[in-house]
């Protein structure tokens, strides 16, 4: 049962109301703040299990609040942003946001993101085997099985898949993946990433043109599901 506490930091009363009704009817406890400063003091006096943070706040903006929160708060923070601003989203993710949603968002999507973020933060201990639909990734033996059959992957493909699997459900930015797999100096070489994601999809996806596991987040990165 979820009776997790969620703090909403958003300056729009209508959005706060909508979120509150939605979350409370799904069993969450909700606190609200209309400014970043208020949100900071609320979360310090009574740390919530998850924070929904609007990027476009008056006064101190969401990016600043995110940085200050991340100095001590290590539970999930989901960032809300307007569409068409990938730079904002990428920088929020790189500054420690767990996930993002663009306004207008669908409630189902919001609840799914909240659930998966909370689940991930609770099961922080490393599982040696990740099971995801028809895929099974054994992180110790470095073996990947699809519907029971072992798939042959090159070492880079495997490293990429393992990185995705360890961060299941979380958006990974292009820069982050490039840095983790290829190293610092490759952070702008997105074509490597495209090529390897393409070949990985051909091996693990049922239909590489309609991927179910490695989902593209346009202009931002990838999400593994």
């Amino acid at each position: 049962m979820n009776n997790a506490e969620i703090l909403i930091i958003d300056d729009e009363p209508q959005i706060r109301k909508l979120l509150q009704i939605n979350l409370e009817s799904n069993g969450y406890k909700v606190t609200q703040a209309s400014t970043g400063e208020h949100g900071l003091s609320l979360s310090a006096s009574h740390p919530p299990d998850l924070i929904l943070l609007d990027i476009g706040l008056p006064g101190k903006d969401g990016h600043q609040i995110l940085k200050e929160l991340r100095e001590w708060y290590n539970k999930p923070i989901i960032v809300l942003s307007v569409r068409d601003n990938e730079t904002d989203i990428v920088s929020a993710l790189d500054n420690g946001a767990t996930d993002y949603l663009t306004k207008p968002f669908r409630t189902g999507e919001l609840l799914a993101r909240i659930r998966s973020s909370i689940r991930r933060s609770e099961n922080a201990e490393n599982n040696s085997t990740v099971v995801c639909g028809d895929l099974e990734i054994d992180l110790i033996a470095r073996v990947v099985k699809k519907m029971g059959d072992t798939i042959k992957l090159t070492s880079t493909e495997y490293n990429l898949l393992a990185l995705f699997a360890k961060n299941g459900g979380k958006v990974l930015t292009h820069q982050f993946i490039l840095k983790e797999i290829w190293g610092y100096s490759f952070q702008t070489e997105t074509q490597y990433l495209r090529v390897f994601v393409g070949s990985l999809r051909k091996k693990i996806e049922e239909n590489p043109n309609n991927p179910q596991h490695i989902i593209t987040e346009s202009g931002v990165g990838y999400r593994f599901e």
Binding site: R83, P104, Q191, R194, V195, F196, N209, S218, G219
Partner: protein, 360 residues
């Protein structure tokens, strides 16, 4: 009207040309004066001043009137080569000449001012008319979904009405459709104002165009319920360095436009190809095509086909054009001989042939 365009000349040129005309005429008359007599010369010069008045602004004309009067006095009125005037008749003639030339200049100036005012007013009226049509279509496009949302919610909230579960669901889905329509209009308006303000600067990154097309088609799957969208991925297309976001919007608008303006069960095809210096995206349908006399205007801002029944603000295709041009490309529209319209977007880009991963 053509004559008036001479007023676009720079002021210096206007002075030069009008004075040159006077001087040339004076030289010509100098050789003819023994035949026609010096008084006829005044009339000829007056004619040239009048011509200048038609062609040029008031100051060059006044100057040419003054100059021609002096030239006539100096070179033609006896005693010549002095400004001295011998007889009272010639004195009167000289005075009359100058006054008539000036009146000429002032009158034609006044006429032109009136013309200009009329033209300005006509243009202003045209602008107001355009603004009104725009406002009408926009307010219609924004108000219809808002009215739907408010009306549907009123019905759902009203305890008196006995709403069947089925009807309630239908109302909810109407609200959903209205909201996404509203969202689309706002997106379009924002895109247009970004274009207008010159804020659209492509952020280029490597894209897999096949993936971009699949994503755009997927995003429109609800709207495409009654249509068939065909896309065969082009597997040998290398990665292209493009702005994926702009491209996605271009594809979205082209496909949505086709969905909106073709009858149900029409087929929409998307074909990717590669040109020497970029990628080519074709979106075509088997609908009715565009009326030949309107085909040149469809990319104009706020332009809507005359007989269009479906809504729209006339922004979608102009955004396609704006975004394509922002990436250094272009968009063309042609009718397919056997029916249907074909949009072709060409965008120059860099290709990546980095597909050899066996060397890792």
């Amino acid at each position: 009207m053509d004559l008036l365009s001479t007023r676009k000349y720079s002021t210096t040129n206007q002075y030069l040309i009008s004075l040159l005309l006077i001087v040339l005429t004076a030289i010509l008359c100098f050789f003819l004066v023994s035949v026609i007599g010096y008084r006829a010369v005044a009339l000829i010069l007056l004619l040239v001043v009048s011509l200048n008045a038609i062609l040029f602004d008031i100051f060059p004309v006044m100057l040419s009137a003054l100059l021609s009067a002096l030239i006539w006095n100096f070179f033609f009125i006896p005693p010549t080569l002095t400004l001295h005037i011998g007889t009272p008749e010639d004195g009167l003639m000289f005075l009359m000449y100058f006054v008539i030339a000036s009146i000429n200049a002032v009158l034609s100036y006044k006429i032109r001012e009136m013309e200009r005012k009329e033209r300005d007013e006509a243009e202003k009226e045209k602008a107001i008319k355009l603004y009104n049509t725009l406002l009408n279509s926009l307010s219609h496009e924004l108000r219809t979904p808002i009215a739907t949302v408010i009306g549907a919610i009123d019905t759902i909230k009203d305890d008196q009405t006995q709403l069947s579960e089925e009807n309630r669901k239908e109302l909810y889905s109407e609200i959903e459709i209205a909201a996404s329509r509203l969202n689309r209009q706002v997106e379009n308006l924002l895109s247009m104002s970004r274009l207008q303000a010159g804020f659209v600067r492509p952020k280029k990154d490597w894209c897999d165009l096949n993936e971009t097309v699949f994503a755009a088609v997927k995003r429109l799957k609800d709207e495409a319920k009654d249509h068939k969208i065909r896309f065969e991925p082009k597997e040998d297309l290398p990665l292209c360095k493009l702005d994926n976001g702009l491209l996605d919007q271009i594809l979205h608008n082209l496909i949505y436009n086709a969905l909106l303006h073709t009858p149900a069960h029409s087929t929409i095809d998307i074909v990717l190809s590669k040109s020497d210096d970029g990628c080519v995206i074709c979106v075509f349908d088997n609908g009715w095509g565009f009326p030949a006399d309107e085909i040149n205007f469809v990319f104009d801002k706020f332009y809507r086909l005359r007989n269009t029944s479906t809504g729209g603000t006339g922004l979608g295709l102009s955004i396609v054009k704006g975004f394509a041009e922002a990436m250094g490309g272009n968009v063309r529209l042609e009718n397919i001989p056997h029916g249907g319209a074909k949009f072709t977007v060409e965008i120059p880009c860099e290709f990546s042939y980095n597909t050899n991963q066996e060397n890792e």
